[in-house]
Each structure stands twice: as structure tokens, then as C-alpha cells.
Assembly symmetry: C2
Homo-oligomer: 216 residues x 2
Amino acid sequence: MTLSEENYLKSIYSLQREHRKGVSTNVLSKYLDAKPASATEMIKKLDEKGLVRYQPYQGVLLNESGEISALKIVRKHRLWETFLAQKLDFSWDEIHDVAEQLEHIKSDKLIQQLDKFLGYPKYDPHGDPIPDENGHVIKMEKKRVSQLQPGDTGSCIGVNDTSSSFLQFLDQQNIRLGSVIQIVNFQDFDKSMTVRIEDRELILSQIATENIYVRI
Amino acid sequence: MTLSEENYLKSIYSLQREHRKGVSTNVLSKYLDAKPASATEMIKKLDEKGLVRYQPYQGVLLNESGEISALKIVRKHRLWETFLAQKLDFSWDEIHDVAEQLEHIKSDKLIQQLDKFLGYPKYDPHGDPIPDENGHVIKMEKKRVSQLQPGDTGSCIGVNDTSSSFLQFLDQQNIRLGSVIQIVNFQDFDKSMTVRIEDRELILSQIATENIYVRI
DNA sequence: TATATTTTTTAGGTTTGCCTAAACTTTATT
DNA sequence: AATAAAGTTTAGGCAAACCTAAAAAATATA
Ligand SMILES: [Mn+2]
Ligand SMILES: [Mn+2]
Ligand SMILES: [Mn+2]
Ligand SMILES: [Mn+2]
């Protein structure tokens, strides 16, 4: 499998949660920073290889073997992120881009030994579960901060937006994995929320509250 | 710089020691398992980019900026080899192919932190010196076993042939970095040598003695 | 020195992955 | 239901990195 095929599979995997009837070429190409025509081409190729189900104009979904392949790449990505954060002192926002490259290194032994070296971690530094060797992932019961009510409390287990600027913002505000977030109140006019984090109150925009995941 | 450009630069770096007047397209293409026509194309491209000096029919040599680039890749390759051997329990012969992929990962911070994590190693698992951040390499006074006389003793510091089959052979014979090798005698008819390694005597072929480096 | 052999380059193709622009299909609006 | 808008596919190109086969240059041999 080529680097590009792997990136498409992984993207379809990420997108099909929220696009149950099919990931459109538009959505997919935007996610990958490419043009819709390029997505169509690649999708057709993956379809011919038996990794996805594709009906013209109806979007694309992984089939079983496509999902197995995608999960292998997700596993590698998350193990490398864990390595970068735990062993090489990379910060939350620096790990993603490098893991994006490392996930494509081909060596079964490498990933097996890396897993062992890290002590078989269950979650990556963003709080996302790491698939095991057989592609089994822990399903998490996670909510967005935006779905909580005033008075509710949750602990941060991950993010949706993994952009550097967002992760840096969280770092600056001292919001990290495990941080306990309590909703103080909700402003209707702009959907922002006042939250309490470790004795400190701050206002999070709608965009922010929609991109932070918590477990209650 | 593309992956392919990096591989060509690194190959020219390795070959120009023994091809002082210029690395021919024939030699270069054979080393890279490609066709001479492909080497010519890439050399012209590297020349246009100002990384090598190339005169048609006269072979190619790195210029200063080409050598700096090549040394960066060599540094990455050897640091990754050290990581694989020391931290992930890869054996001597397994590390090369994976490092061949890892050396192309682009991140200054990654290589800096990896160096730190490994404790700023000076030599890789094959005994080759690791260039520092500024591209400075320790010049080693190394001899091939084949250059020794009966009675001479040396300690193994590296190999020339890095093929799996050779490294596996060395593993089987318990020849590793630091092994003390004493020449017992020399057979003129086939240039083989009887050597003593830790109380054990064995016969090494000419090919073998030419591919093991020692420090006296 | 003339000829043969080897080496190197050039010319023309192929594959992968990307693009733009035009054509087509689906969905939304009147 | 007809038309407009939006989304998708197709057609035709391009760049990188490889290839084969033919032409050209360098080197070896007679
Ligand atoms: Mn990737
Ligand atoms: Mn992650
Ligand atoms: Mn390489
Ligand atoms: Mn090495």
C-alpha cells in the first residue's frame, strides 16, 4: 500500500463516524487538503483493490478489509504519538505532524517492539484509544463540552480539532488530559460557556467547547 | 528534498571514498539497484540544485552543500539504528532496512531529541561514527582484518558489507562489536585466515576478512 | 591507428498522484 | 415541475521517478 492510499484509508476511517451513509468526495478532499477530482480517482482505485465500497455520487465507506488496514495505520500513528510525548518530550501540539510521517514506516517488528517498549499503552496523548494488534479498539463514551449543562462536570479525555493552534491554546489555558472541567454557565447569544478548571474560571467559545471531549 | 534525492546523495557520499575522481553512473545505479539512465537523470537534477559537481561522462562528486545534506541523512540513519538496537532489541542485521525508511522522516526536533534520548551516542551499532549536529564526523583509524599479519590482534569496530546474510553469519559466529580478533595464520592459496575469537578458532574466507573492520 | 567493446547519455514511455476545466448528476429553490 | 445551485465525475495535463532501446562518447584491443 502506498503512502497516499494509507492516508486516504485513515481519513475515510475518521470521517465515516460522522458520515454514516458515505463520505463524499467533497468532505474527503477537504479533509486531505486536495481537490475532489483527486479523491474520486483514489476512491476508485481503493474500490478496485477491494478496500472500500463506492457508488458514484453516493460517497465511500470502508469495507471490512479496508477497516482492518485503516486500524493498523491508526495504531501506528497513536503509538508513535505516545513515543514522541513520553520518551522525547514533545508537547501535545507537536506530535501530530511527525506521527503523520512515522505512521507510514513499514515493519511489523518495529511496531510490535515499540508497543512493548512503551508498556502496551491503551490511550495516546490525545486520549484516543490505541487499537491492539488485532485491530480491536476500546469504544469510548465521550461527550463534547458543548453537550454539557451548567453544573455538570467532566474530565478531559481528548480533542476533535488537532490543529497546532488549538492544542497550543489548550496548553496555554492549562487544559490537558485528565483536567476536570465544570460548566459554570452558558451564554445563549454566542453559545460560549464559562467553565471552571482547577480554581480558575474562563470563557470558552462555541468552537472550543465543541472540540473538547470529556468523560463524565 | 525528496526521498529519492536523499538516497542518491547518501549513496554518492558512501561511494566517493573509493571513487575519488568521480562516482560513475554505472557504479551509482548498481549501488541503488536502478538503471544507469535513472542515475544520469537524478545526477543532472542534483547538479542543477547545486548539490553535486557533475561533468558528463566523468562521474559525480558531492560539493560542500551536498556533503552537508548527505551527512544529515547519515546522522539520522545511524541514530535510528542505535535506537532500534538499544531500545527495541533489534539485532545487528535487522536494523538497516528499517533505518533506511526512518532516515527520511523530516523533523529537526525529532532527531535532536532522539540524540538526547540515546545519550548522545558516538557510534552506531555497526561501529560507524555518528555525525554531530554540525556534520562533523570522527575519522576512524580502521583496518580490514585482511590487512593484519599472523600474531596481530584487533577489536572489531564495524563492517563493510551490511547485508543481512553477512551480519547473520557474524552473529552465528559470535563476532560482534568489541570482539577481540587475533590472527592465527594465513592460507596463501585462497587468502583465508584462521583467527582466534574468545578461545575459539575459526577460518574466515577472504571475502569475510575484507569486510570486517578492526581497531588495533 | 582503426576497430571493437564498454560506458554513458538521450529519447520516448509508464505509473502514481496530483491538478484544472468541462460535463454530468443530484439536490435545493422557485 | 422547471430551473438554479451545488456536488461529483470525466477528460486532458503535469511532475517525479522509474524504465527500455538507440545514439553517442570513452576506453580497450587488435
Ligand atoms: Mn500520513
Ligand atoms: Mn492522537
Ligand atoms: Mn533511504
Ligand atoms: Mn550502520
